[in-house]
């Protein structure tokens, strides 16, 4: 499993890639594996403003619905409409074509997020608990 080290990770299994005051958000490879085949995405509209850890959408597999939580506070500047139309991209390429939204980040508070090595450890511990 991949844990790219240019990303920050949330405990709820979203990632964010920071570029200037912008950030791209997606779900992790671990998250898509746990969900199974993703068949539906509900994403917010451009212009919506979210707090850190606020729900910004949902992702659905055949079996279940999961909420998506915003890793950092900010305003939505772009939505991946292609992924919304064909959510298989989240399974196939969760760190690339399967991105979800782009944010103009209002507060870069990384204290609640994890770096790649910490998240990898977190995922391992979580799966051992099962």
């Amino acid at each position: 499993m991949k844990f790219p080290d240019d990303l920050y990770y949330a405990a709820s299994h979203e990632w964010i890639r920071l570029e200037g005051d912008g950030g791209t958000v997606g779900i992790t490879e671990h998250a898509q594996k746990e969900l199974g085949e993703i068949v539906y995405l509900e994403l917010p509209e451009v212009g919506r403003i979210f707090d850190a850890a606020e729900e910004f959408g949902t992702v659905e597999s055949v079996k279940a619905v999961s909420e998506l939580f915003c890793p950092l506070a900010g305003e939505v500047t772009e939505v991946n409409t292609q992924a919304a139309e064909d959510p298989a991209a989240l399974n196939d390429d969760p760190y690339g074509d399967g991105w979800l939204i782009k944010l103009k980040v209002s507060t870069v508070d990384l204290s609640t997020l994890m770096a790649a090595d910490a998240y990898e450890k977190y995922v391992k511990e979580e799966s051992e608990e099962h």
Partner: protein, 369 residues
Amino acid sequence: MTTAASEALKHTPLFDVHKSLGAKMVDFGGWEMPVEYSGIREEHRAVRERAGLFDVSHMGEFEVEGPGALDFLQRVTCNDVSKLEVGRCHYSGILTPAGTFVDDLLVYRVGEARYLMVVNAGNTPKDLAHCRRIAQGYKASLEDKSDEWALLALQGPKAQGILGDLVEADLSEIPYYGFAASRVSGAVSIVSRTGYTGEDGFEIYCSSQDAPRLFREILDAGRAEGILPCGLGARDTLRLEASMALYGNDIDDNTTPWEADLGWIVKMKKSDFEGRDALARQKEQGVTRKLSGFELLDRGIARHGYAATAPSGPGIVTSGIPSPTLGKSIGLAYLPAEDAAVGTEFQIDLRGRAARARVVPTPFYKRAK
């Protein structure tokens, strides 16, 4: 997170086989069962186009035997057991005095005065208690054989070809909802032409000891035909496309066969049975709600428990999936009886977003004969 609970989960005899095949396991009614191996939609397609093999050993089996077996079953189930010939089975219901479902089940006539009741896994203890209470007045033994029987379901258009070489009996002579006692690869079994997918196929009752070997041998026998091991995820999407009810989702102890569009399993003219009076009253008064098939006209998935708003009043979704075969989002919902006609449009609340839905004919999918 769920450590305490998962320690208590029950396993079928095939648990180690599932693990070795890389299945993703989930808690299903207290059983740790495979939900998928290679992916729900791929497994679904395998069953519609080729063949799939399911472990459904969690199902409960009761053996009923004795001179009073028929009278007992006539009392405890709503279909007419006197019409069953030896070697045939039928779909039926166990009802409460209020005419609602204790469970849905298959009843097999194995011998002149010998029957097998096959019930839902999670309901087995409840069903057993219910049946024991009623069986007291009848000259019939009732034994729970759930731990001794394993159950494999081989489903799909290639099922007969795959199973044929392993079975002594001539499968072409087993009609739909018929069965034969036969050895399968040497193991004593009952081979039944039944299933929960809307495809042709067989359910194979065998001993728990033989089940792992049979499961692997059937997979090997079907390899050239493209068989896949299939989990409960695909079982759910397949059964819903075929509009087969799932206990706990579409029917339960608050719903009657009339409401659930299962009137065909109720035989009011046979001898008296549990729930009959209540059903007679409801038939006279008419039902106020009906289980209806729908498709979503907007994007999304309408899931169990989502609220519906129909022209005459509220309703509730009982099952919903993105249909792999139809490429649409489909489901079942209880709607006011006035709104159950095909073509009626209504709304479903998808977690805060109103989506339009339309009543459509069921089954959603019917195989070509």
